[in-house]
């Protein structure tokens, strides 16, 4: 087990925040080409996959290993350094700690026993036919707007309308409704296929806060199927996938 790396605080913070949006702890894989992780949230409803490439680091030297990380704690610690501060990361194998040094501070954070962390899920092998690329901020704004009306939201693609296809978001409250459509001038339809699934805003809002910072988000959809959001941050050096299980309304 060996790790010696230096990275911009901002890049590490963005990555940890993206994971922290869904899980409070995870098994982190340290490889010689970077970090990766895959985890499912406590309720088995959302998944996050993250890859932080070696190229994201100022310097990077590592031997392959798996460590258990308290993501919430790391996120809190990384609240301190400024955008351009550099964080030195080292693994203290004997004391079973992750050391983070910045601005003259040195945090030694206890690693979690990986046996106490839930097993990594298998990435579900599902075909989501509709594929669209949406600006992250637009997508996040639409989610925030829907929060005012309901706690669930339908996402879908409609190819039947003229002037279409359209990517739509629709939320029904007890008395109110909200509709937001994105046409071909606003989003890129990689594969426009009719689709519609319902999701919980409780998760979408946390995801939206993160991918809202990404210039473009690839959205994969089906009908009564999960949604997949694929996006990059840190100049393409950090790569993320969020998956969210749908809600199926009883008729």
């Amino acid at each position: 087990m060996m790790l010696k790396a230096i990275i911009d605080a901002d890049i590490l913070r963005e990555t940890i925040e993206a994971i922290a949006a869904l899980v409070s702890e995870c098994r982190l894989h340290i490889e010689n080409d970077g970090f990766s992780m895959l985890a499912v949230d406590t309720a088995n409803v959302a998944m996050v996959k993250a890859v932080l490439q070696k190229t994201a680091f100022q310097s990077y030297e590592a031997e392959s290993c798996e460590i258990g990380v308290d993501i919430t704690k790391l996120r809190n610690i990384l609240g301190t350094p400024g955008k351009t501060d550099q964080v030195k990361i080292e693994l203290d194998e004997t004391r079973h700690k992750l050391e983070l040094s910045f601005m003259g501070y040195k945090y030694s954070v206890a690693l979690l026993d990986t046996n106490t962390i839930r097993k990594e899920p298998n990435e579900p092998n599902i075909e989501l036919p509709a594929k669209i690329i949406v600006p992250g901020m637009e997508l996040n704004n639409a989610i925030k707007a829907s929060m005012l009306i309901s706690d669930k939201i339908a996402l879908g693609v409609d190819t039947q309308e003229k002037n279409g296809p359209f990517f739509f978001m629709h939320a029904d409250g007890d008395t109110d409704q909200i509709n937001k459509t994105f046409g071909p001038t606003e989003v890129q339809f990689v594969n426009p296929v009719d689709s519609r699934s319902l999701f919980s805003i409780d998760y979408l809002k946390d995801m939206g806060k993160i991918f809202g910072k990404s210039a473009s988000v690839e959205v994969h959809l089906g009908t009564d199927h999960p949604v997949k959001f694929i996006f990059d941050m840190s100049n393409g050096n950090a790569h993320f996938i969020y998956l969210l299980a749908p809600r199926i309304e009883a008729d």
Binding site: S24, V40, T42, A43, N44, T116, S200, R247, I248
Partner: protein, 550 residues
Amino acid sequence: MYFIEFAECCKRLEKIRSRLAMVEVLAETLLTLQEIELPVFIRFIMGRIFPDWSPKKIGIGPNLLFEGLAYVIGKQKETVIEALNSKGDIGTAVEELVSMKEQTSFFSEQLTLLEVYAAMEKIASIDGKGSQREKNLLIRRFFGASSPLEARYLARLLLEDLRIGVGEGTIRDAIAKVFDLPVSVLDHAIQVTNDIGEVAFLALKDPNSLNSVKITLFHPVRMMLAQAGDIATGIHDHGKISAEYKYDGSRFQFHRKGKSCRVYSRKLEDITSSVPDVTEMLMSVTSRDIILDGEVIAVKDGRPLPFQTVLRRVRRKNEVEAIKDSIELTPLVFDILYLEGNDLISLTYGERREILLKEVKKYVAPNIISDDPAEIERYYMNGLDQGHEGIMLKVLSSQYTPGVRGKSWLKIKPHVDTLDLVVTGADWGEGKRAHVFGSFHLACRDNDYLIPISKVATGFSDEELALLYDVLKDIVVSTKGKSVILEPNLVFEIGYSEIQKSPNYSGGYALRFPRFISVRPDKSIDDIDTIETILDRYDFQEQHRTGSNQ
């Protein structure tokens, strides 16, 4: 064991009324369990999650449970509450609702008993910001993964109220039957370890070790309790007897090992940080590894202050320093349970008292030993004069029996008719009390069930009502018109003039002229008075009435 098998076992037991038949079913089930499942099963089947000595709490109330369930079924929390109101039981309401699941999940999990426990243990270890969120997610996972029957018992287990009528005695008898052990051996081991799950584990692994289990420091044992009695009978039955003042304070158990120590309340909560002054005093009296039993009282100018004053300190979690000097506490130690690796609870009271006096130089509660009723009567009057509650008579030859309300300790105090009852609901006040609750619904216990017995609306000051509102508003489960249903947590001491038969309450009895005496935050729902007590008092009262008429 899969959780569904546990749920099916619960369902079987719930239908059984006979204790013997319950023991049969339990014994049969115990045989199917793996070693590591045994302690978890035993606690779960009694509706407990963690060992009794453990300070761990799951911290999930009905509100959080409803929120989690509402999410899974895609309904508003109010829908869940309506279902509960119409069913009258959380378990069966959840069972029905969970079949309307709307949120899908990535995996279909078949929950096991151990997974459920591991997840609960994890939740209990998280505190601070984010812990509510994690609890909510766990509830979603549980209900997301469970069948209706599993959900019924998961819901009740999360609230630690299984309602299948399996008490400690029943499960103990099942353990005795399966492992062919005498009940007395198990009773002793349960008292000493305060962990019946662990006892079952030992019964399986190494039954001989049950005879030699010892009290463990920092695993508090239950407090020995007293029965009401009178001086004449005490002396008649036992001859020479010890008498101590009965202090109007808060019971504590002090554990010390080397330089570390903890103070536990009557409910076995860790109150060390609330009473730093008491901790310091007790640390100063001995340097030995020790467990002491006693009462903390508040004093002013040499006189004890009422119990409520003590509680203001003992319950305090924040700003302890600020209040420390305004309420002066002093410990009074009356028993010793452990010394330097040795259990003392099997020694007699007389022997323990001798060791106590030798080991603890200060703060030992005074006593007298006598077989003269007049002398003890004088001691009793003296105690009352000094502002104490009365006296405790302790049988010199008696062992310390944790958690047992036996005849070896007798409490003698002036006759006051009060009952400890739990608050299950409230009505909004009127007029100047319109912004607070003005009257409270009270219930006593019948095994696992709460039986409504009275409402109380008198005896409160405006300040008390404001304080009560502040505490109770966060545990409102549902609202109906001018009434609210509350999580049954808070215990009131209620005075009354007599017990009457009443068709208005399902238990068949009601209190006449109920009045609020005090809040009893030191007591839990398990400590409230039972319907049997009320029946006994009713019978006593009626006999007395007949007698006086003659």
